[in-house]
């Protein structure tokens, strides 16, 4: 294993604040893990939970207590000791509802205590997701002393100050941030005190440094790799995958992901302007799902690098995902359903897309052509991100393009998001099913794995039939790296893992 060197990584967007509890955008979330370790981790295949900072863990019989055993001799990047105090501080911070947006995921935790290296997490009710939560970025451990010493009145200000100052003190991860230029670049330096060992028996990471540059334009980002100025670029447009794949100096990686691309459908009886909503009719929603040739879409948008969604509520790599035949292309069925629903030819349906997104333009062009035989005239409305978000919330849309990546290694997050109506009216669709909601609530307490799996299977069936979404496809993460780079991975949750990466000189 070659040690040392710098890996240059071109990103599409920059991090703004990498703090376990405040990270809320993917460019932030996906970097948390490099700077901050969690007590537990997902296994490499994502199917189970293994130890992290905690060398062992145990869930009590009644499911209401988790006991974790911290590794001994842990150190933060600056060499100061990582102790139970820090864990308590971090977990209290993480579940403090006044602070970050993620506290709700730890809603079941009633108390966290420590006794030497033993950490006890007490729950108010059984929580099947608790282990996943302890392996999630927001429960990563920060340095209590550094926080307390930081400038600023509130936790938020302290966090910003610490981040702005950079340096080795605060993190327990394989790297610490050693350079930051807002919106332009960022440097991660190796944490010499990291507990995880490499194949050579020395602490990970192998790299001395990772240098990030932010290059929003896709074409420029790729040119940068082709010119040899960077070693890796993320978010390679799928249209470029084949070309880069053919380049002998470049490895074109398609990392499996939990990313799904779908389009919420407004299922309300009337549209925001008061007119009748044809999409209120489940048959119409089913029809457009049938009329959508996902393989063709995948061919056009992803150049084949993807697969149709098979689970309605999640990607196939998420735990408890069903394997369903989710509205395979069937024009006859679609026509029949439309006829049954009595759709007038020339019915106008608006697809709200993201301005400037080539993928969305392609999806629109393809859908327009695919749905025309149904008598649906698809018109486009391009908006920018914030406007789309606002519309999604207010329900002022017919259909709009959207996507999702899991943040947690558990299906509950995405399922709640897509289908549980109290959360954001089921991703803005307005779809509501009492049965679904009841199942979701029950599954939140169900400690029995099999029973929980059944609940999830039921929810997925209900959701499939109601079709509040246009189910489209799953895409991998396309990252092109120079052949000099080895060992870099992006997890299905999107996290960038540099700890085992190497660059040959």
């Amino acid at each position: 294993q070659e040690r040392g060197g710098t890996m240059n990584f071109a990103r599409y967007d920059g991090s703004r604040l990498i703090d376990p509890i405040y990270a809320d955008r993917n460019p932030d979330i996906w970097m948390v893990g490099s700077l901050f370790d969690t007590l537990l981790r997902s296994s490499d295949d994502g199917k189970s939970i293994v130890g992290g900072l905690a060398e062992s863990f145990e869930v009590s019989e009644d499911g209401k207590t988790v006991t974790l055993m911290l590794q001994s001799g842990l150190k933060f990047a600056d060499g100061s000791a990582l102790e139970a105090d820090d864990v308590l501080f971090s977990l209290d911070r993480a579940r403090n509802g006044d602070l970050g947006p993620w506290s709700g995921m730890l809603g079941s935790v009633s108390d966290v205590t420590a006794d030497g290296n033993t950490i006890t997490v007490s729950l108010s009710q059984p929580d099947p997701t608790i282990l996943s939560m302890l392996a999630t970025f927001n429960t990563a451990i920060v340095n209590k002393d550094v926080f307390e010493a930081a400038e600023g009145a509130t936790d938020q200000e302290k966090s910003a100050a610490i981040f702005a100052a950079g340096g080795a003190g605060v993190g327990s991860g394989a790297f610490y941030m050693c350079g930051f230029e807002q919106g332009a670049s960022m440097d991660f330096c190796a944490n010499e005190h990291h507990w995880e060992m490499g194949a050579d028996g020395k602490p990970l990471p192998y790299l001395d440094k990772v240098h990030f540059e932010i290059i929003p334009d896709d074409a420029t980002r790729i040119l940068k790799l082709q010119a040899g100025e960077v070693d890796a670029v993320e978010f390679v447009p799928f249209s470029r995958v084949a070309e880069l794949d053919a380049d002998p100096a470049i490895n074109m990686n398609l990392y499996p992901s939990t990313r799904i691309i779908y389009s919420p459908i407004n299922t309300r009886e009337t549209r925001a302007d008061g007119s009748a909503n044809p999409l209120n009719d489940v048959r119409v929603r089913q029809a457009i799902n049938y009329a959508t040739n996902k393989d063709a879409l995948i061919g056009l948008v992803l150049q084949g690098a993807g697969q149709p969604m098979t689970a309605p509520l999640m990607s196939s790599s998420t735990r408890l995902a069903s394997k369903l035949d989710l509205y395979s292309y069937d024009m006859d069925k679609a026509m029949a359903l439309v006829k049954e629903a009595g759709i007038e030819p020339g019915t106008k349906v608006t697809l709200t897309t993201l301005a400037g997104s080539a993928d969305d333009s392609t999806i629109f062009a393809a859908l327009q052509q695919m749905w025309a035989p149904l008598g649906i005239e698809l018109v486009v409305e391009q908006v920018d991100g914030p406007t789309r978000s606002a519309k999604n919330r207010s329900g002022e849309f017919d259909i709009h393009t959207y996507g999702w990546v899991d943040d947690v290694n558990d299906p509950s997050q995405v399922t709640g998001w897509l289908g549980y109506s109290p959360i954001r009216s089921a991703v803005g669709t307005g779809w509501e099913s009492d049965k679904f909601n009841a199942l979701f609530e029950a599954s939140g307490k169900e400690m029995d794995q099999a029973a929980r799996a059944q609940q999830y299977a039921d929810m997925q069936t209900i959701y499939t039939d109601a079709a509040p979404l246009l189910f489209m496809y799953e895409t991998p993460f396309a990252v092109a790296v120079s052949t000099a780079v080895d060992g870099y991975v992006q997890t299905p949750l999107g996290a960038n893992i540099f700890s085992r990466a190497t660059v040959s000189k």
Binding site: A355, G356, T362, A365, Q368, Q369, V380, D384, T387
Partner: protein, 288 residues
């Protein structure tokens, strides 16, 4: 009386001969041909385009130029030539609609302010300063963001910002024309202000504005393209040169025709407008 014989000083040249004179200038002629042909393409795209510009053929994506597809096909297998031709409709419309209202408003306000001066002129000066200190694109983007993307919104945005430039030009020109005695003569003759402004000053002051208009049309296409690039311009499935270039930019090395052809169309059309503008400057200048 000894001056019974009065001859006309110069041989008269009818308007036609002026046009002929202008057409003799190669620049103007080329410009006129370009814009004439572009207008034809814009009006009857389907007549010229070999295929339906929006027809997707999954099986024929990014084909290089061939006899069947002279400009190749794009990433959805659509015929690139047909898309470039259909884009003429959008882009020529852009050139005109994005500028003509700004022209009208600007000319009217500029003429009024230039004639009356005084307080209105002071206020006008501040407004102009305020708008001019914004980078044009920033303001347009902000307005487009407020109104939402789309061509009509874009026209409104450009008009809201663009009239200032016309008004400034018009104001200066009207003030200059006021220095001519015919304006004073109008006042002395007791003509109404409206008559003096719109019948006398405006036709004489408008030449530089018209010339600027031509350049501005070229600029409007460029601006529209930039907005298209940022996703704020034309809406799909409308083909628009800026969007076409933006779509093709990922393939500049592998499928160069996708961005090159619309690029050429922009350049040629812009050239056409500029050439006409230069020619018009000569054509519209009053003699004597």
């Amino acid at each position: 009386m000894s001056d019974a014989v009065v001859t006309s000083a110069k041989s008269s040249d009818a308007p036609l001969s002026r046009l002929q004179l202008a057409l003799r200038k190669p620049g103007f002629l080329i410009g006129a041909v370009i814009i004439g042909f572009s207008t034809l393409l814009a009006l009857f795209p389907s007549f010229f385009a070999p295929y339906d510009p929006n027809f997707i053929d999954y099986l024929a994506v990014r084909q290089p130029p061939s006899w069947a597809h002279p400009f190749g096909t794009d990433m959805l297998g659509r015929d690139a030539l047909s898309r470039v031709i259909h884009a003429y409709t959008v882009n020529m419309q852009m050139a005109i609609l994005a500028t003509v209202f700004a022209l009208t408003i600007g000319v009217t306000i500029g003429a009024l302010v230039g004639y009356y001066r005084g307080v209105a002129d002071m206020i006008f000066g501040r407004v102009v300063d305020a708008i001019i200190t914004f980078p044009f694109l920033v303001l347009v983007i902000a307005v487009v963001a407020v109104l939402g993307p789309g061509l009509i919104k874009m026209y409104i945005a450009i008009t809201l910002v663009g009239w200032v430039y016309y008004a400034r030009l018009m104001r200066a020109e009207v003030i200059a024309q006021m220095g001519n005695d015919y304006a004073s003569a109008g006042i002395v003759m007791g003509y109404s202000d409206r008559r003096i402004i719109f019948r006398h000053l405006l036709p004489n002051a408008i030449t530089p504005v018209i010339v600027y208009w031509m350049t501005d049309m070229a600029l409007a296409i460029l601006l529209g393209s930039s907005l298209g690039y940022l996703g704020l311009g034309a809406q799909p499935p409308h083909a628009e040169w800026g969007v076409l270039i933006a779509e093709g930019r990922n393939f500049i090395t592998t499928a160069w025709w996708l961005s090159l052809m619309p690029g050429i169309a922009i350049v040629i059309t812009g050239l056409g407008f500029s050439l006409i503008g230069d020619g018009l400057a000569d054509l519209l200048r009053p003699r004597g």
